[in-house]
Structures are given as structure tokens and as C-alpha cells.
Subunit: 318 residues, 6 copies
Amino acid sequence: MLKVGDHVNHCFLVVDCQELKTKYGKLYLSLNVKNRLLECGVKIWDWESIKSTLSKHPTTGCFVKITGTVESYQGMIQIKTEQIEVIEEGEVDPSEIYATPGIALEEMENRLKQYLGMIKNPVLKDLCQAVITNKELYQLLITRPAAIRNHHETYHGLLSHIVSMMGAAVALQAHYHFLSLDLLLAGALFHDLGKVVEINDIKEGGYSTKGRLLGHMDIGTALIDRFAEKTGHKGKEEVDLLKHLVLSHHGKLEWGSPIEPRIPEAMALHMIDYMDAQFYNIFKQLKETPPGEWTSNRSQSLFKHSLSPVDQLDHYHK
Amino acid sequence: MLKVGDHVNHCFLVVDCQELKTKYGKLYLSLNVKNRLLECGVKIWDWESIKSTLSKHPTTGCFVKITGTVESYQGMIQIKTEQIEVIEEGEVDPSEIYATPGIALEEMENRLKQYLGMIKNPVLKDLCQAVITNKELYQLLITRPAAIRNHHETYHGLLSHIVSMMGAAVALQAHYHFLSLDLLLAGALFHDLGKVVEINDIKEGGYSTKGRLLGHMDIGTALIDRFAEKTGHKGKEEVDLLKHLVLSHHGKLEWGSPIEPRIPEAMALHMIDYMDAQFYNIFKQLKETPPGEWTSNRSQSLFKHSLSPVDQLDHYHK
Amino acid sequence: MLKVGDHVNHCFLVVDCQELKTKYGKLYLSLNVKNRLLECGVKIWDWESIKSTLSKHPTTGCFVKITGTVESYQGMIQIKTEQIEVIEEGEVDPSEIYATPGIALEEMENRLKQYLGMIKNPVLKDLCQAVITNKELYQLLITRPAAIRNHHETYHGLLSHIVSMMGAAVALQAHYHFLSLDLLLAGALFHDLGKVVEINDIKEGGYSTKGRLLGHMDIGTALIDRFAEKTGHKGKEEVDLLKHLVLSHHGKLEWGSPIEPRIPEAMALHMIDYMDAQFYNIFKQLKETPPGEWTSNRSQSLFKHSLSPVDQLDHYHK
Amino acid sequence: MLKVGDHVNHCFLVVDCQELKTKYGKLYLSLNVKNRLLECGVKIWDWESIKSTLSKHPTTGCFVKITGTVESYQGMIQIKTEQIEVIEEGEVDPSEIYATPGIALEEMENRLKQYLGMIKNPVLKDLCQAVITNKELYQLLITRPAAIRNHHETYHGLLSHIVSMMGAAVALQAHYHFLSLDLLLAGALFHDLGKVVEINDIKEGGYSTKGRLLGHMDIGTALIDRFAEKTGHKGKEEVDLLKHLVLSHHGKLEWGSPIEPRIPEAMALHMIDYMDAQFYNIFKQLKETPPGEWTSNRSQSLFKHSLSPVDQLDHYHK
Amino acid sequence: MLKVGDHVNHCFLVVDCQELKTKYGKLYLSLNVKNRLLECGVKIWDWESIKSTLSKHPTTGCFVKITGTVESYQGMIQIKTEQIEVIEEGEVDPSEIYATPGIALEEMENRLKQYLGMIKNPVLKDLCQAVITNKELYQLLITRPAAIRNHHETYHGLLSHIVSMMGAAVALQAHYHFLSLDLLLAGALFHDLGKVVEINDIKEGGYSTKGRLLGHMDIGTALIDRFAEKTGHKGKEEVDLLKHLVLSHHGKLEWGSPIEPRIPEAMALHMIDYMDAQFYNIFKQLKETPPGEWTSNRSQSLFKHSLSPVDQLDHYHK
Amino acid sequence: MLKVGDHVNHCFLVVDCQELKTKYGKLYLSLNVKNRLLECGVKIWDWESIKSTLSKHPTTGCFVKITGTVESYQGMIQIKTEQIEVIEEGEVDPSEIYATPGIALEEMENRLKQYLGMIKNPVLKDLCQAVITNKELYQLLITRPAAIRNHHETYHGLLSHIVSMMGAAVALQAHYHFLSLDLLLAGALFHDLGKVVEINDIKEGGYSTKGRLLGHMDIGTALIDRFAEKTGHKGKEEVDLLKHLVLSHHGKLEWGSPIEPRIPEAMALHMIDYMDAQFYNIFKQLKETPPGEWTSNRSQSLFKHSLSPVDQLDHYHK
């Protein structure tokens, strides 16, 4: 995080932008900007003179590069701006703007392929490959967050959550060998896939109208139907099992699943999903807490004890 | 219902059929049979002599015509059989075997067409017509029950429930005119349509494996997708609204809807669905109860008061 | 609603009134006022000079006529007052001060009489007439709100709710003809009648002590007892049925009914009551929302879709 | 309890009575009878010869005096009858037939009067006296059970429950002296008074139709209204407080109170009522259990420990 | 409570203490202080001159004696300080700083001894004496609060709660004589004893880490084990019964008891505990409320009726 | 399982034993016996002649060796006995009588030692070793069931559950490396250790009185205290953390934990415990179900799909 006194030479998303006048009638520009290190206000007091020198003016939703210094003014953090410049979205590195997981994208993509390579059932293999080879869908899969808030609410968050769940599934199934690893892995890929439609782009934020009307489970099973049609597997048992994994992964009706788990892999997938989301948050909270103290979240504060390996680690999973 | 002493000359479904021996080593045939008027045992004591005279022997799941008399033997109802004959399924009138609604099939089909004729929105009209003109689906729609138990668990029960809901929707919308009648009617048609897959044929009974894994809501939205593709309406708002009506018609997560109602018509449809199921049962229970007494169902016994029009009526709705 | 810049020449209720001094020791009058179009502060800076010219001074709870202009001062809406005058309560048109339903009072009174005219059962007819002909009670019935907040929280709100429920009851019973229309109509009249005691006058607001100790259901059944005595129908079955409708109209113990519905009309009345309250609010929220957007209430935001007739209508029911 | 081999010379209620024929065509009388010591079947095999000698024949619902011996026949307890005689209801001592509390009726009546004598508030005093001096109501009050099952389900059970609650109220209030003893005592008298209408005579058993439609709380507040009218106290605060105590004595909406406790005495009365019912049952169960063992009720089995005074006592309260 | 204009000459706990500079660069001391009569800010504007005259400077967590006057500055209460002096903790009377019960400590200690003197069972007697004679534990027992908030959250609060529960137990058991008074009294002493570890010193406030990890029930049963070992009663039934009373005193799993009451004294103790906490709060709220009005707590507002003895009393129990 | 027609030459536990007489007055012995393969009745009709030839007569609770044949008599399974002999308990192999896990005892003991060898923290290591080296406790640990019913309700069931949880903990922690493996392993050993007191010997069955009064959590933390004292680790943080793991392993108050998980290992341990119990049962049910069918348990029937490895495996975990 950037602190008061730090020098700034970073890209920011402009969350809000208004051209205003001071009491004395002088034009100034008032912005709210954010990136993964800082969210604060910016006042450009000499806007009148700068305005004409800029080829493009900042607007709400655009990206800017700001040079200046972080300062505190009447208890509010601001950037004392030396220079501001509008940047094209294509030139911005999203990981400068948004929080990202503790593992690099390439590493996550490699693991994803490796885990999918472990699937032996030909129908499930084909359905998973159909996701990976669909360029548009794959692009969404690797960039979108897994949630609006609560867990994995980051750029690449969905991929990060899927890959960690796959790792946990492989570990657990090695012990509980009566579970089908193929179903666990395919289920991990598809269980939240509908979120690429349900949740908006991280820049826009929030849920889409389609998402609020249908939910990511129904969107997910419709994707499975589409891929089953395409791969010629329509009507096969594996298709229904995979849809069941998607529909039941919240575990109980009152948690949003229209069908409760009816195969052992559905129970396991629900528990892996729940654990992975919990552990993501627990690690994040403990990371910000000194040893011997309690985390600051009110609803379920946790104790950081002296045996905790958290401070030696960068990420909640290997 | 048939009573002790009544003469029998009826078709029955053979629920169970076994060839057994008496203590003295004589072969006899022991059957359990049922139709809409009687469910009881049948013993054919002279099976040894009859057996060779029958061109086809009764088996579990076949239909038989029995001539004889209803009698009570050691507190159990039986048919004292004079004649028994196996009947081909095609020659059996299902309404002799299974309970049916209080309105004739033709009347229900007419009303269905009439109500669908009230839909003005072209997308919803096309989606509904696609159901009606799909012969296989239409056949299931007009014969299947609406549930295993609880309500409209009869032959033609699903159609009966849909048509009654449409009647209630038209009545309510005439008062609450801010609701879209088109959505209410199309929602009534599609809300339980997935039950034609979820629930087995009334002869077999119970839920199908696909039904238990996916539920009738997901099956229903997949049908809408299929019809949207076919009618060229894929991607239109009406398609999402209709799917939303299907997904939310149980009203709350804990009652099995993965999405709670987010448009007024979804709230209304949920309430109409709930009311129609309740009223079907209430009428049935009150019909069996003398005035001034309480119905016999334990969980929510009802009082049949002196203002009740139930005894003057054959059916719970007009 | 009145906006900044609008000219004001309206009656207001004085919610709060204090005579204060400026830093420089000058007397001014600080008021909070509201009517159905505006709720804001008013500062009378020249109170010292005006004070003696007014025959009557404003006080908390009185009514005033204000001439002036709506303006914004430091983010707060105020009226820049040109003239202020105290008005006797009797001369104020309540519909200028308080929100009112979308149907005129006379129209609602006519419908009420028309619906009550449909009741054939002599006991229920007499009990309903006893309400209508009791001048004091009738006056409360046609002016009081149906609730403090949530639904029909307007002047004439109780009458509006009753009349709409009667309309819905007539519509539903025409389809579900096994229900007694007489009981539904009498139940609609009496179900919330105790609210005329439970809820204070709309000017005072809030609940009465008697209301908080007894609730509107017990107050309502005591009214029925009183009218049964008066009309000579004490001890008749209809009296108990009507009291049952009142006691059970919240549907479940946890929703405040000491007795759950035990006759079909009680179930129906509960659902009509619930629907009518819901639909009142839904319409109000959708009315304030542009097409294609979601209503702003957090707990259950609704989507205003393109088939919605809301924008063509003034009221949620016909 | 009567055991196999015991001689019988007791009155019984005839729960069921049928004249039947043996296989050989001989008339016999088959009865089910019960009193507080035994519930069993009786077969009068020589009915044909006895029948004409009896001036009155047993029927369902009548009372009989039987002389004979208790025996076990095929695992069923029966009375081998020597003599049977029909007895007029007026001549039967109810305490021979039904379970009764551990304190004599006179003692309970004395305590009731004594406790009511402690009430100083004139309004509450008058309302309570109105109960005691209403002969018909008082007769019901001292004979009826307090419940169908669960607690104090005995002849005189309601009185027994009321008197014990009064004793507990006096004890508690002596410690928690900020509570009004007058309200606690009057509340104890009235809280379940509606049960004299809600619950049938112990011989008939079960709930009345009026009771199922209205519940004992609404019946109770109507009684208070009637007595308030009679004693000229209508409209006084005490009347509303007493009605509030009745309406709120179940403590929570979901436990059947339409209004939750809003005065401290209502909270206290709810807890005393709950405790008294619990303690009645606990004592009864422990009494039947040997020291060092667990009671046999499944839902909440209790341990009879070595410090328990239960075996030295006849009744759960002093 | 101290009001604006009152003269101050009291001890205070310094909740927060900072040395700051005015706009003009002058040092001043800004404190937040509290005692049982006042919680407010204090500004020592002439800190520069006073500072060197004080032998000891105020710091967060120390105690000070302040002479001055209570005044209101910009809507905030402050003390206009004439003199300030740091006081050693040992010289402060805690009852000047913290709220205390309405009964003097000596009186409570006497009653405690008296109640414990009523215990006859030698094992329970020894276990209780072990608490009283353990100086360190006894000191905590008589000074600590019974809770962080909710009830008895005062200095001596735990002792106050225990003594009142003992009084209620004696009263109730005199009526419900099948309960063991020995178990009730020993249970009252031990039920919350673990709170002396679970809850920090009233000056520090909040829960201890050990308390949050183990809870006061497990800490309490470990204390019983320790005393059972010491007194040679290990393995006796009374030890398990006493531990059961501690473990079950919250009454239900969802209220935090790992074991629900399984002996009658456990049920009684739970109810006495619940009542005593409730009545403490109810009395406190009613004391602050004028007759005829409602208490200000939102969740369960209570009515102060005209029969309430609250205004004649200083404490909720005798 | 033994079937009708199978020859029997096995040990059985005598569940019930009575000497009775036939109608004709002849003595016979009627037994109910069970072992892990059969639970049925045995009638020794020639008891009169055999009786004197047996050195020891069967009694309820003893063990017998029976030679004979399984047969069906009037729909009940019985053993047609050729020979019967009473066996000393010490000579009986418990695994002939009771169900046992799918892994041999030696193998489980080896794994237990291996997993405990992975613990590095000296305090936790010492506490675990104290369990293993306490002969009496260790003997209970390796023989007792983990529950009365529901899961691991077998001879050696507790050990089996602990060892499987340790395997799952090692697997999961290898992925979620921010968890302390030492705490997970020590927690797995101690979490249900109190069950050796709470649950009776498998022959006796059911819960002990101490177990019902205190529960296995409180018994477990008392064991930790005892071992902490013995190993000189009293007062160390690890002791409190381990007690916290025991107290919180049911996850929520309403599931019986007095403290909810407050360290990540407590959350993980709760989930591993829950999963292991579930998976034990799921495997058992699926094992008894043919592929393509649903398990017979009503509450949550599961589908045995075609990808399930269950039929290739002997045990639910590796």
C-alpha cells in the first residue's frame, strides 16, 4: 500500500471525475482514483492552465497515469499531482490496478492444464477441453474474479480459485480413493463457470442483469449443454453428473443450490469449495495481524497463534 | 370407491403377482391389484385348473380385467374372482385405473389453447406454441401427474394444475393490472414443465434418476433454451424472464428455488402456484369430511363450516 | 415532489419548531415542516420583526401556509420564506399534507358499499353494516393508514387496502368457487380493523400504548364481540369464523397469528392480504425506476423489464 | 396401578362397547374400559345369559362397576369379569376414573382464596372475584385439566397449575420485589382461563371446535372484557395490562403469543408458567425412575441423582 | 450523573491521553476521562506552564484527580479544569470510577456466606469453601464484572449476580421442594466462576485470549477438577453433577451449552440465571423511564405501568 | 452375512436368554443371539434333555458357540441348533462378534505411530506420547467405537476414525500449507478422546452416565489438563490451543461446540472430522448398492454412478 509521503508514478482507474469551481470561480478538476495500492481523491487546482495542454481529458471510467506525492489533507488522503495523463485501456497492466492472486498467471494456467491432463474419462475430458479451447470463454475464465466480495474477488480470482480447488481435490482424493478424481476435477472447472456471465468485468463491478435473473448455476448448466451438443456427448450420464455437480455445489437449498448433493463427489466438491473460500480469507486476515493478536473482522475474529506458519508464506496454498 | 359386496367387472393394474403353493401343495396365484376405485389382494385358488385356459398369464405390471365380488376376509378386502383376463395396455382406459381431475381432458385442452391465445408478446407466444406443437412433449404434458404426492398427483394432473393456474392468473391480473398477463400465462405453462422428465410415468411412479440429479427447474430452463434456439429467439430478454419465472417459482432458496423472485410476475406466479396446490388438497380433504367436522390430516386439520360451498361442487375451481 | 427553484404556496405540518438566537443574539425561528411534496427545514431570520404581526405563532404540531421558494443551502433543502401563516387544522386538506392512495376517497367508499352489498349471509351482513353505520368507527376506517411503514402507510391507507383486497377476493373466488365469498369479504373488512386503535392518527404517528399491549388482532375480535352483542348474533358460528379470520390472517405463529388458518377462507385471506401489501410496494418501487433498471431497495431489488405495464398505470390495482 | 392377579371391584369409564358373535354364533360383549389404575379390554362371554338380568346395558361413554380379576391373555391385559353393573355418572367419583393432582381439592381451593386475598389493587381484585363468584365458570375452573397432554392433564389440573403458579409467584416476588404481585396473581388466575372453553370435559377429551378456531388466549381476553363490563372497570389500565398478560404468556410469537411480553410481570409470568409445567413433568418422570437411572422419555431423558429429594415427596411443590 | 455547570472534584480513569499542538504551535494536553458519573474530554490549554509543576504526568490508563467545572463546548461535554493530579491506582476507590451494584460489598459478602452455610452435602460444601478460602480467586470473585455488557457489567458485578441468584434459588426451592437446594446454591457459585479468567479486569475491559479460546464453562469445570483434587473428592458423583450444572447453564446448544440440562436443578439454574440477568436490565431501564412511557431500548421496549413498584426501590432484588 | 441354508459354527453374543414352557408344559430355551454376520433367534426345544449335559448354561450377556443351520420359520430367521456351548469372554475374538474397520488393527497402530512421529512441536509431541504410553487409555483408544451409531460405530472404530483423519490432514495440509500440521495431528488424536469415557464398551452399548452429564469435549479437555500436568507443560499456549481444538471441533454452537473455531486449524479439523464421518457412511451405503441405483437411506439417498470406484475398493480411504 502507498503511504503519506510516498512518491507516485502509477496508473489509476478514474472512479469519478468532475470539473468544479472554487468559491472564487476558478475551474478545478476533482477525481476519485484507485489502483491496487491506493484509493483516494485528487484535486487538480491548476486545471484551467493544464486543460488545454492535454490531448485527452480524464473522464469517469478512464485510466490515468499520475506523477506526484501522497499527502494527508484534513484527515483525507490525496495525491499532490505533478503530472496527469490519460492512458488507453489496452496499455494498462490490470495487475497494477486490481488486486491479483499470489501466484503468477502463467503458473496458474500451467497447473490448470496439468490438472485437466489427469482426467481420463473421455466425455469429461472433452467437455473440459471445450472450455479451454473456446478463446472468448477462456479469456473470461482467466481474468474474471470469483466473487464480488467475500473471497477471490480479484483479477484472475476465478482461475485462482479453480486451480486451488483442483489441488485440494487431488490431495483429498489420494486419501479418499473411493471418489472419482475425474468428476472432482471437471466439477472444479465448471462449478463457478457461470460467473463469467453472472459477474461483470472487474472494472465495471457488480452483477449483470442476466446474472441476477438466472444465477451462475443455471448459466453454468446451459454452458455444459452447449458443450455437450458441440462435442457430441449430449444425453450421456457424465453430462448429467457434471450438471449435478454445478447445481449442488452450494450444498444446501438455503445456501442456493436447487438440488442437494446426491453423489459423493458433489459432497466433496461442496466442501472443497467452501474450504478454499474460507482459507483464502483466513490467510488474508491472519497475514495482516501480528502474532499473538486477533484478526479485526467482527463476525468471526481469529487468533494468530505462535505455531502459525502464515508469516513464512506468500500464499494460502502451495 | 368399491365396497364389500359390490360386483366387480373392471380393469386393474397388477402391482404384484406371485405363483405360490398352499400348505397342501396346491398351486394358487396371489395378486395385488389396484384401480381408481379399489386397491386390494386377489387369490386365484383354482389356478392349477385355470392356468392352461388363459392365453396370457398375469405378471407384475400388466393389466387384467376381473369379474367377481368384493369381500372381506380376516379384516382384509379381497376380490372373490369369477373370471380373470390379461388386457393389453393399449386397450386400457387410464382413467379407469388412475385418479383423474374433476374436468374432462378435452375441456382442459380447450382452455389451455384459449389461455395461450391471450398471449400477445410474439416471443412468449412462439415459445408456448413450440410446446403445444411438439407432439411427444405435448403428449407427456397432458398425461403426466404434477407431483408424486401432495397435489395434482393424478393422471392428467400436470395439465390440470397448469390450466387452473392460468385461470387464477387471468382473474388476479384483471385486478392487479400492473402485472404482465403474457408472462403469467407463459410462466404457468413452463414452470413445472421439467416434471415430464423429473417424474416417471404414473404406472411406474416415483422420480427418474435424471430428475433427482437435476430437478425440474434446470430441466425446464434447458427446454426453454431448446425452444428459443428453434424459434430463433435465443438471446432475447423474454427468454431470460421466462427462465427466471421457472427458476424462482418456489419463492425462496429453502423451498428449492436457486433464485428468488426478482420481477413482480415471479412473485405472483409463486403465489398462484402455492395457492393452487393448497386449494386442490383442501378441497379434496373437505369433500371427504362431513359438515361441522374437522379433516383427518394431522398436520393441519381444517374445519368444514356451515357456509362452505364444497358439497355443492365437483371441483375446486370453475 | 417539489424541487429546488420551485415556488411554494402550500400548507405544511410543523414537525418541530424552536425560537433560537444567532451568534449575534438575533432571534430567529427554526422549523421543520412537511407535506406530501416536501419535507425540509425553514429558517425565519426576520422573526423579531414578523413575530408581532402574526395573530398566532407556529408551534410543533400546528399547520402553516408558507409562500416562498425551495432552495439548497449547504447541501440541505430549505424554503426561502416570503410569508408564513398559521392555519386551523379544520381548514387543512389532509391530502395536501399526507400521501394518499391513487384512487379518490368517494370511489373507494362506493366500492366498499358495492362489495359489502354482495354479502348474502345475514349474520355477516349485519356485522359489516354495524361497522359502516357506526359513525365514529367509520370515520377512523376511512382515514387511518394500514401500517406505520411497509405498505399502505398513507392517509386513507386502511380503506385503500381493504377495498383492494375485496377486489382481489371477488376475482379469486370467481375461479376458486369452493371458497365462501361472504367470509372473504367480511374478513377483508375486519382483518385489520383493530388498527384504528393500534395505530395513532397519521399526524401523531406511531403505535398507541393500547396497541402495543394488545395488538390489532385482539382489538379486532373484541370489536366483533361488541357488534355481535349489538346485532343479536352472539354465539353464532359466523361470529367465531369471522374472529378466526382476524386471528389467523398473518398465516403463521411466527408472523404474529396466535392461531393458524383452519378454514380455507382463512388461508385465502392471508394470501390476499400478503399479496396486496407486496403488490402495493412493488408498484411504488417500480414506478420510481426506469425501464431496464433495478429498484433501489436493498433487501429485495426488482428488475423493471420491458413487458411491464407499470408506466402506463397510476395505481397497482384497477 | 392394577397388576395381573389383582382383584377388581372398581368403577370404569366404558371407552368402547360392542356386542359381537363368536365363530360359533354365540353373542358376547366386548368392552374397552379405563380408570386411573387400569386401561384394558373386557370380554363378557356369557352375555346371552346375563343380558336380560341387567336393568341397564353398558354403552360407549357410560360408567360401569366391575368385579373380577386382572389376567393376561395372549399378551393382552383383560379383566376376568365376575359381575358388571352400569352406574349413573352422578354416582361416580371422578377421582376413581381420572388422574388427579397430589393435593386435595379443598386444599387447592383454600390456597386459591388465600392468594387472591393478597391482591390489593381494587380493579384486579374485582376481576378475580368475578371469576370466583361465577358459579358455572368456577365449577369448570376447579375441574378441568390444564392441557390435553404435556402437563397438568388431570382432573382438577387447571386449578392445580394455577395454584402452584401463584405459590411460585409469591416466592419469586418476595425476592424480585420490583414486580407487582397483584399483576402476577391476577395473571396466574386468568392466563389459561380460556382453556375451560378450548378444552373439552376430561371424559370427552380433546379440543372443542371453538377452541381450535380461537385459542384460549382470545377466549381469555373476551372473558376479561365481559368481567370488566360487569364490574364497571371497562377502559381502565389494569384491564389492558391483564389482557396483555394473557396474550403474552407463551413468551414468543412462535410459541403462540400474538404479543411478546412488554411489562416485567409478563416476562415473569411466562417464565413461571413454563417452569411450573416443566417441573410437573420432571417430578412425574423422576418419581417413576429408580435412583441412579435415567428417565425413559426419549426427547430429554433426565438423571435421577443421589441428592434428589423426589422419593421423599408426594408432589412437585409444597 | 454530573451535568453541565456541576463542580467537579473527582477521580477519573484516563482512557486516552495525547500531547498536541494548537494551530499556533502551542502545546496542550487532550484527555478522555471517565468515572461512574461522567465520561468526557478534557483540554489542558496551559499545559506548557503546568507540565513542569507536576511530579507525574497523566498517561493513558492512569488515574487523575480533577478539580473544575462541567461545561458544554460545541455540543460536546468537557471539564473546564482548574487542577489536575495523577493518583496511584492503590489510592483510588474503584466505586468512584466504575458502576457498582445497588448493594454494598460487605452486605453481599455476608449474604454469600449465609447462603453457603445452608449447604449440607459435605462434598459440595467443601468445594464451595475451597473457592471462598482461596484468597486470589476470592478477590477476583468479589471484584470482577459478570459480563462485558448485557447484565451485571459492573465492578462487583459477578458477586452481585451470584448472590441474587442464590436468593432466587432459596425462594423457588421453598416452593418447588423436589429440587436439591445444595446443588442450586453450589451451582450458583460455580456457574460463571470461569469468567474471572474469561473476562479481563474492568479497567482493561474485554475478553482474554484464554477466555476466547476456551470459554468460561470449560475454565469453570477445570476449576472444579482442581478443587475436587485438593479436597479429596475426585471421582464423586457430586463433582460430575456440579460440572454438569456449569456446562448446561446456558440451557441449549445454540445458546452455548455443550450439554443440555439433564437434572432438574440444571433446568432450574438455567432459568434462574436467565431471569436474574433479564430482571437486572429491566429494572435499570424502567428506572430511567417515566411512568406511563416506554423504555428506549429498540429491540424490546417495555411499558412502565401505573402499578410498577420500581420508583419506590433502589435495587431489582431485596 | 449368513443366509438361510448356511451352516453355522460360530461364536455369538447372547442378547437375551429365557427358559420358557411350551403349551404342553415342556421346558425350552429361547435366545436372541448376534454376531457380525447374523442377528436372530434360537430355540432349543430339547432343552430339558440337554440342560444337564452342559457345564455352564447360557445367560443374557454371555457368549456361546453354536453349530447348526440357518433356517426361516414363519418369516423369521432362526438357527436350527445342533450344538450349543458357553464360551469364556477371554476366548472370544471380538472381530467375530462385532463389525470392524476395513484395515487391520496392526496397520492402524503403525500408521498412528507414523503420523504422531511427524509432530515437531515438543509440547504437542509430549501430550500425544502421554496418551500412547498410558496403557489403560491406549487399550480403550484402540478398541472403542467412535460413536453409538452414525459413523465408525464398530470395534476399533475410534482408532479407525482418528487414523483416517490424520491421513486426510496430512494430505490437505500439503496443499494448504499455512495450516500447522502439528496442531492438526494432535487435534485429530484428542478431538474425540473423551469418547472412551462417554461411550460404553461395545458389548454393553450406549452412553455412560458420566458421558451424558459431561459430554466427550469436557472429558477430553480434562484429559489434556491431566497430561499437561504430568508432562510439565501446564500453562503453555499449546495446551490451550489443543483444548480449543477439542472444544470447537463440532464447528457451531448448535452442533454441540461451546466455542466456535477461532484458529484456522480448528476450522480445518472440524471439516476433516465432518468429511471423514460422512465418507465412512457414504462408502458403506454405496458398497451395498448396485451400480446405476440409489442407496436405500431415506434422508439423503445417493446415486451410484458409472464412474464410481467403490466396487474396486475394500475401504473408504487408502
